[in-house]
């Protein structure tokens, strides 16, 4: 059996016909691997958003590959490169933005570096102490895509999607307003200053403010804005007035607005509407007077203490204000005197009226207005400077009725028309005292003295003569008079003088007569019939 176990005895394998594969199935593996790799590559490329460059003044705390770009605190990208600009003046950041946020990268999108800031309105960006600085994004409204941006120094104060309206204010100067300064409406903080700039011509300042919704609807075309900065202290004819908005505005300044008088069509102002920024509340409030008539006053006295804005009163009620104080003169005569420009507000004037007067009628009818004023002037209406406060010496213009003033005709052809004036009370008094002094000066005191001297000399002579001639005569006469008096004493005044005796008896007689009359009158009172019938006998 062992011989049989040779090669031939090994059993033959069973033949199974099979299709020979010339191409190995294993090739599927690299194909799959390639497909997966390509797939991921494509996905990565597709998921890759735009790459943007932002130019900053300095890349404060920015690190490539570590700093995020955040919009509403959501990561939308990452800084990939930080380098200097070609002229070495600025930092250029390259950031890759997620594809999902690619739509944010438009023309007016703003970027800034968020880091902790201590500003007038608080501390911001404290979170960056932990997380490190990041690049903040503020979405733009444009639809035009952009990839290159200039970074902001500071984050924008108001987010673009915050409801509210932006307005532009024009001011002479910036005052103490800064970005972030509050905006007050009835002392309620309703917005902020979001920016300011010098006007193109350099003559004014444009301040951009933002009023939050729903307060923005209170801004109408008639709204006045004024600087509510710090402490507004004024020393005027009305005394000392201090006005502030809030402690915050005292420190960092602010702007307030109010609609003093609405013209009826109080529609909210349009977006980006332009307003004038007044220096203070009074100025803003005063500007509302539409119906103001200018007049000019020509005083002949010093206007020291009269300032612009000083009140003009009619019988003590304020009806206008001083708009300008200056000098005016005629070069020919060389007469230079103060000229005071005032405005009389019809609205204020009529506001004091307690009876219904159609404002419009009076405002529109100029002739009526003129005739009324002329009649008042005829009756003695005069403007006069008066001291509003003894302490400050501030003057105001008082229009009051004065008696015994010459008639004046107002020349309406001139504009502004001139109102007649009278010297101030103080001036009047001064003038009178002056007059008295002048009269006193005119008294010839020297001559009077001389005359008096002469008179005294003559009197002296007279007295001498009297002494020498009159006195001895008088002595004689007096002695004679003495003798007469003595005789009178003995005959008339003495106790036992006969005249005395007779007088005493006569008096006793009169006394008795009086008693008889008294008895008669008493009887007559009780018995009036006795006049006719006679005295009846008394019954027992």
């Amino acid at each position: 059996m062992t011989e049989h176990t040779d090669i031939n005895s090994v059993p033959e394998a069973t033949a199974v016909p099979k299709k020979r594969m010339t191409f190995s199935v294993a090739w599927i593996i690299p194909v799959v691997a390639a497909l997966v790799a390509i797939g991921i590559a494509v996905q990565q490329i597709l998921a890759k958003g735009p790459t943007i460059t932002i130019v900053f003044k300095e890349a404060q705390g920015i690190e490539a590959g570590k700093t995020f770009v955040k919009y509403k605190d959501v990561r939308i990208g990452q800084v990939t490169k930080v380098q200097l600009s070609k002229d070495f003046t600025r930092a250029e950041l390259t950031a890759s933005i997620d594809k999902s946020a690619a739509g944010l990268m438009v023309e007016d999108t703003k970027f800034w570096i968020e880091h902790p800031r201590v500003g007038p309105s608080g501390i911001s960006g404290l979170g960056t102490l932990l997380s490190g600085n990041y690049i903040g994004v503020e979405a733009g409204k444009s639809t035009k895509a952009q990839r290159e941006f200039i970074g902001l120094e500071k984050p924008p104060v108001i987010s673009i999607d915050e409801p509210g309206q932006r307005f532009t204010l024009e001011a002479d100067n910036l005052g103490s307003v800064g970005i972030g300064s509050p905006l007050y409406y009835r002392r309620l903080n309703v917005g902020q200053v979001i920016g300011y700039d010098l006007a193109e011509n350099g003559r004014s300042i444009t301040i951009k403010v933002f009023v939050k919704a729903p307060y923005d609807k209170h801004v109408t075309a008639d709204t006045r804005f004024w600087q509510a900065s710090g402490i507004d202290m004024s020393l005027g004819a009305n005394g000392l007035s201090v006005r502030t908005q809030s402690v915050l505005s005292v420190l960092i300044g602010g702007i307030a607005f109010e609609t003093f008088v609405s013209s009826g069509d109080a529609k909210p102002a349009a977006e980006e509407a332009i307003f004038t920024l007044y220096n203070d509340r009074a100025e803003a409030a005063a500007q509302r007077e539409v119906e103001v008539t200018p007049y000019v006053l020509r005083f002949k006295e010093s206007v020291r203490g009269l300032s612009v804005g000083a009140p003009v009163t009619y019988l003590g009620l304020q009806v206008g204000e001083v708009t300008a104080v200056g000098l005016e003169g005629d070069p020919k005569t060389g007469d230079i005197h103060p000229r005071v420009d005032i405005v009389i507000s019809l609205g204020k004037f009529l506001g004091h009226m307690r009876q219904a007067v159609s404002v419009k009628e009076l405002a529109m009818n100029e002739k009526l207005r003129h005739s009324i004023l002329q009649r008042m002037v005829d009756r003695g209406l005069r403007a006069q400077l008066r001291s509003g406060s003894i302490v400050t010496g501030q003057l105001y213009v008082a229009c009051d009725m004065h008696k015994h003033v010459p008639k004046v005709k107002i020349d309406w052809t001139k504009s502004p028309a001139e109102l007649p004036v009278v010297p101030s009370g103080l001036q009047d008094l001064q003038d009178k005292i002056n007059g008295i002094l002048v009269k006193i000066e005119k008294i010839p005191i020297d001559a009077i003295g001389e005359d008096l001297k002469k008179l005294v000399a003559r009197l002296d002579g007279l007295l001498k003569r009297t002494d020498e001639e009159v006195l001895p005569e008088a002595k004689k006469t007096l002695e004679e008079l003495k003798g007469v008096l003595k005789s009178v004493d003995t005959t008339v005044v003495g106790k036992d003088a006969p005249v005395q005796q007779e007088v005493r008896e006569a008096l006793q007689e009169i006394n008795r007569a009086a008693q008889a009359i008294r008895g008669l009158t008493e009887y007559l009172e009780q018995h009036p019939e006795a006049i006719i019938r006679g005295k009846t006998q008394e019954k027992q």
């Binding site: 059993p11 394998a13 932990l130």
Partner: protein, 207 residues
């Protein structure tokens, strides 16, 4: 291992790779199935060179994204950092731990590449029926098989790191796509090494 050694093919015999039974193939082209266990018989592995090539090519393809894509994404409060294998090496080197950098460089960058290169070399020599240095080539092959598993070092490191560092929101580490491809490279090269039939090295001598 001298030339002209007796081989199963020369004798017209084939051994079953499953049960080891020696049998005579039906045809040299189609040896048929094992009469004992029914396993398909192979004089040499079926299409061995093509299969190995395919795996090597796949590994090579995967090698590119494995190095380009991040293998690890570490997120901290301040930043998000993506690390590729090579940036990891650079980082280790820059922070002063060059021995570690060297280990990672060798294990993760050089070894997979060397394996692919070595296998490609073996395949080319087999295809060209080279008769020189068979012993060296065999030692190379054994080295490739031995060293293959160590390439998974990087994958392990990343797996551990990802599992351990999860301190949301302070810091967290997540695997990147790169690590998948890297693992694929390692696995594919290991399989390629397995599919390579070292018997082929000697076939040119036997002929």
């Amino acid at each position: 291992m001298r030339a002209g050694a007796l081989t199963g093919i020369k004798l017209g015999l084939v051994s079953c790779e499953s049960c080891g039974l020696l049998s005579r193939p039906v045809k040299v082209d189609e040896p048929g199935h094992c009469p004992r266990c029914g396993e398909e018989l192979e004089l040499r592995r079926h299409n061995p060179i093509q299969r190995t090539w395919a795996l090597i090519v796949a590994a090579l393809i995967c090698y590119i994204p494995a190095n380009v894509l991040p293998v690890m994404v570490s997120t901290t409060l301040a930043s998000e950092e993506e690390d590729t294998i090579f940036s990891g090496v650079v980082l280790l080197y820059e922070t002063g731990s060059w021995p570690l950098a060297l280990i990672v460089l060798i294990a993760s960058v050089m070894i997979p590449l060397t394996k692919i290169g070595a296998l490609a070399y073996l395949l080319i020599t087999v295809q060209r029926r080279s008769i020189r240095g068979q012993g060296d080539r065999l030692r190379l092959y054994r080295l490739v098989k031995l060293v293959g598993r160590w390439s998974m070092l990087d994958v392990f490191v990343i797996t551990f790191t990802v599992a351990l560092i999860q301190f949301q929101p302070l810091m967290s580490v997540e695997p990147g796509y790169g690590v998948l491809f890297f693992a694929a490279v390692v696995v594919l090269t290991m399989i390629a090494a397995e599919t390579f039939d070292p018997r082929l090295i000697w076939d040119s001598i036997s002929e």
